[in-house]
Symmetry: C2
Subunit: 209 residues, 2 copies
């Protein structure tokens, strides 16, 4: 997307396809390969050679699109953020019931993570490889979450309470349950995990008579 925004590369003089479209496809292939290779091997182990091999392009092609392994890594973190925000907003957009939106947002998150375990690991590793990208990723999420909770509390849809700390706490639940599956190999079906967690989020631990 970045390349399209800056307007480069320009039209290809020799081929029939505009270079923007072809270039974007190659760029996406490299990003997809980097997701797999870095996610599996970790940032330090993954080489640009193994990324281009996985993508099926020449090693030099990498440098047409990215200046370094660091740059492709940062782009993956940003992309994970964009994709996740997209699937969560698709899953919850227009929902009138905030508590139901919590449930569907959690389900969308865990479903996405289950199908992108490598991206999940990359975001975790970003804390050490690219702290700025890591912080931007979580700050952006937290701010959206905070805003949604503050509006819901103001509208009387949920109990009042500090939206900022709540946002971090609820993100923490989602993240831990994603990790329980991706890193710790838990096999409880997502729908079951969502129901248990949602019950806790909505009604808490306290017994009521």
């Amino acid at each position: 997307m970045k390349m399209a925004e800056t307007g480069t590369p320009a039209k290809d003089q020799t081929g029939r396809e505009p270079k923007t479209a072809r270039g974007e496809a190659t760029r996406r292939a490299i990003l997809g390969a980097a997701e797999k290779v870095i996610g599996r091997q970790g940032f330090n182990e993954a080489s640009i050679g193994s990324i281009t091999r996985e993508a099926g392009v020449a090693q030099g092609t990498f440098y047409i699109y990215f200046s370094s392994k660091d740059e492709v890594f940062s782009e993956l973190v940003a992309e994970m953020g964009r994709m996740l925000r997209h699937v969560i907003s698709e899953a919850t957009g227009g929902m009138a019931d905030r508590l139901e939106a919590e449930r569907e947002g959690l389900r969308a998150f865990l479903t996405f993570v289950a199908s992108h375990p490598e991206l999940y690991r990359i975001v975790q590793e970003a804390q050490f490889v690219d702290p700025d990208a890591y912080r931007a990723y979580f700050r952006t999420f937290a701010e959206g979450y905070r805003q949604g909770l503050a509006e819901a509390a103001e509208a009387g849809a949920i109990r009042p309470g500090d939206a900022d700390v709540r946002a971090w706490a609820l993100m923490g639940i989602a993240r831990a349950l994603g990790e329980y599956s991706v890193v710790f190999g838990d096999t409880t079906p997502i729908d079951e995990v969502v129901d248990i967690a949602h019950d806790l989020i909505v009604d808490g631990l306290r017994k009521r008579s």
Copy 2:
């Protein structure tokens, strides 16, 4: 502790102090220095030379106690687990009210993390440096937590619900709030964070009339 357990080093023939005590002090100095240096610089950047400089011992002394940087790293992760379990059990031990134990456990966790930011980062990095130590760390916590929640539910002290998923969700809250302070620099006082999170954990988001 490991050295004492294996019975080495033996009594010092020349000094008045038993070598076990002096050796243990040196070992602890190296561990403390490694905590600071690795926690601040990250595992890859931190050198054994910078650890021994920080500890004020000769570089060769490191190898009397540890075979490698990897070993000292794994020991730090294990130590963080032991220390945290200790402070949490000190804070909650003998509490009859499970909900109050949740509150005090969270307060103890966040207080510990605030005073050991480097250890916190080391545990995070363990996912990439020593995945086995990382998984052991969280599995041990999760199992203790799960057991406590299961017993509380059985005793009717909290609402019934899957203790395993709940344990991971509640660990996720604690971890995220620790990170919000250590990594993201949030300055909300711990007691305030604990009250907001505990309110969510105990009563959830649902509005009641």
